[in-house]
Amino acid sequence: MTETSVSSRVDPAADERLHQELERTWHERTGFWGWLTSVDHKSIGKRYIVTAFAFFILGGLNAALMRAQLARPENTLVGPDLYNQLFSVHGTTMMFLFAVPMMTAMGIYFVPLMVGARNIAYPRLNAYGYYVYLIGGILLYAGLFTNTGPEAGWFNYVPLAGPEFSPGKRSDVYAQTVTFTEIAAIIGAVEIIVTIFKHRAPGMSLGRMPLFVWAQLVTAFMILFAMPWVATASLMLAMDRLIATHFFNPAEGGDTLLWQHLFWFFGHPEVYIIFVPALGMVSQIVSAATRREIFGYPVMVLALVMTGFLGFGLWVHHMFATGVPQLGQSFFTAASMMIAIPSGVQIFCWIATIWAARPRFTVPFLFVLGFVVLFIIGGFTGVMIASVSYDQQVHDTYFIVAHLHYVLLGGAVTPLFGAFYFWFPKITGRMLSEALGRCHFALFFLGVNLTFFPMHQLGLEGMTRRVYTYLAETGWGDLNLLATIGAATIALSVALFLVNVARSLAAGEVSGDNPWDGETLDWGTSSPPPSYNFLHIPVVQGRSALWSRTPDKPVVTGLRTDMHEVLVTTLMDARPDSRHLHPRSTVMPLLAALATGVTFITLIFTPWGLPVGGALMTAAFVAWAWPDRESYEEQRLQESS
């Protein structure tokens, strides 16, 4: 154990005994069955991260095919039908299967560690959420490979996605993929909120929470209020297609703009749902690189919360071209511009933190620098398109493609790569190579700019989005070729990252508990963390949990070690309040997820999916709720102690 460890008084023998006991209690079975029944947030979080990254690669391959098609004018590599599926699946993958789940996954893995909990709240629901998400992802790609991939974009506008203009089951695959991922996201959000509210280590009052945890909290609340909109919209679409409701049929009183309002009321917060956790990651990386608390903590928290609120006031700026009334537009312009302020404040605070310290130029920090540069570009184009008049020119052109990729790749994926380098040692116990990491960063940064910077100009020269080809006479060929070369560079950089990961897993340098000298509790336990997370739940004494620990290192005592007993604390001050028993590993979440999967996939084809699937789900959840003998005995024992 290193100096920063949260462990208590030095008594190695007692600690070893405690370790043995806790390990016996919290350790889960290994192997395939163990994998299927796991309820450990680290195990679920890890597979969430790996799965989401796999979808990032798949989505990237879609993009690579699209870029190959667009490299030259009038190219015939990919026809319009496949191209439409590719860009639809690309967007759907990146938003629903990569970005949101990845950010949730980082929360699932690190929030319990950062707040000093033994596991996430509702561990079984956590496993269920993962499986549902996985089913959704498999559905989308099964769709693509059987020529049933969504074809009307990730935004899936009706009537193009409606029953008349999208025959077959392609849009239904979209609708149910969305349903699955929304269920998973909402579940993840509820768990993260409750973990943050009720499972914080004693002493970690709200004002002492790490900024990453704040970011996750804001994100989770945004998910709670945003995701139901798209879930409802996709449900309406599925009903229009399956049982002939008329939500989007103008001839019977329906409205095509209803879809757009519902979709973007989710769709814009979605961007911040992806971006806000990335801000939290940047704060942790900067704080470790400078060995400083982030300058202006209260302002940072306020900025995150304000971003969360403002994120809901912008949806109509995606609809300026539909001709909504002028007055309303001005409101959305003002809101869209205002949201730049909290982002600006955070950048200034980071700079202030860095200014007064001497940062170590590690790979995570390089990614942070890259993030600021890319994000400012994306942010500025964002402010430009908040202007109604300017947006009416560049809306739905490659200018927007450039903007959104600067914001999402620059604002979210770049910090995410930084976070991978930063936390990889915590998850695996091994360092990633700094040399390969620097190459990865350089290639990635170059690739992003090479791919997306020219697209601004393409948009202004008239190239619209979602075109499978363009005529030679447009003169867009050269810039498009440049963008394709850039895309290849990005692909190369990601390949390099994979090599780096593989190399480190096989023979990386052993990292130790706290290689970056981080401030948060996750660095206070071993790398990788033990099954029970913390030998002793620490009592938190300051904002930087590890840096502020006094030499006597106070901890929580009196929690049972023979069962999954965890501590519940109060909402504001994190005073110890009660003891709670977490469930042991079980296969029930998997069964319930399969029942859910059967229900919604059957609903693509027949309304009978509802009663049949409903019965299956009821059976699964009743079995879930009913305690088996073992867990009953255990619970009774805990209640009597």
Binding site: D81, T148, E164, K169, A244, E252
Partner: protein, 181 residues
């Protein structure tokens, strides 16, 4: 053994999905048209001398399991004003198409002949006015109106006024060949 069956089922499912979803833009040319006897003097547009008809008995209907083709057929059904006589399947001047009764047979080939050659008492001959590929699309759509197509292939509602329940919810009724019109 069981895995083989399972694998066959999986492949079959996948293939049927592929077939259902394919957007066939450039169909291979059908069999060489043979000249057939026309059975009516009615036709859209000004009179022409002869009607060219592919011999349908030898051609498999290409859109029976293709949702896109059926949807195209539905669009064409409305655009070419089939609804003018047959309404949305309920019939009017022409016989209803959503019931189980077929005057000239319910097989795709029969319907194809009906459209191309025309029929006595009012059905015009669309022979060389609609390319055979589009005729096949209309054929499949017409059959979907009485539930003769798989439900996952038959169309859902259109963005039109509500007149009848959607084709994909139509139960299959065993076709009967009715007597003389």
């Amino acid at each position: 053994m069981r895995t083989t069956v399972l694998r066959v089922c999986l492949v079959a499912t996948a293939l049927s999905a592929c077939e259902r979803e394919e957007r066939r833009f450039n169909p291979p040319p059908a069999a060489i048209p043979a000249t057939a006897q026309r059975v009516t003097q009615l036709q859209p547009g000004p009179p022409v001398k002869e009607v060219l008809v592919p011999s349908p008995a030898t051609v498999r209907s290409p859109y029976e399991e293709n949702a896109y083709g059926v949807a195209q057929g539905k669009t064409l059904y409305n655009q070419f004003n089939c609804a003018g006589c047959h309404s949305q399947g309920g019939g009017g001047m022409g016989p209803p198409l959503m019931d189980a009764e077929w005057l000239y047979g319910s097989e795709p080939q029969n319907v194809f002949e009906t459209i191309v050659q025309g029929r006595p008492n009012g059905m015009p001959a669309f022979g060389n006015k609609i390319v055979s590929d589009q005729v096949w699309q209309i054929v499949s759509y017409v059959r979907s109106m009485s539930g003769l197509l798989r439900k996952d292939v038959a169309p859902g509602r259109s963005d039109d006024m509500y007149v009848r329940s959607q084709e994909q919810a139509t139960h299959k009724a065993k076709p009967v060949v009715a007597g003389q019109p």
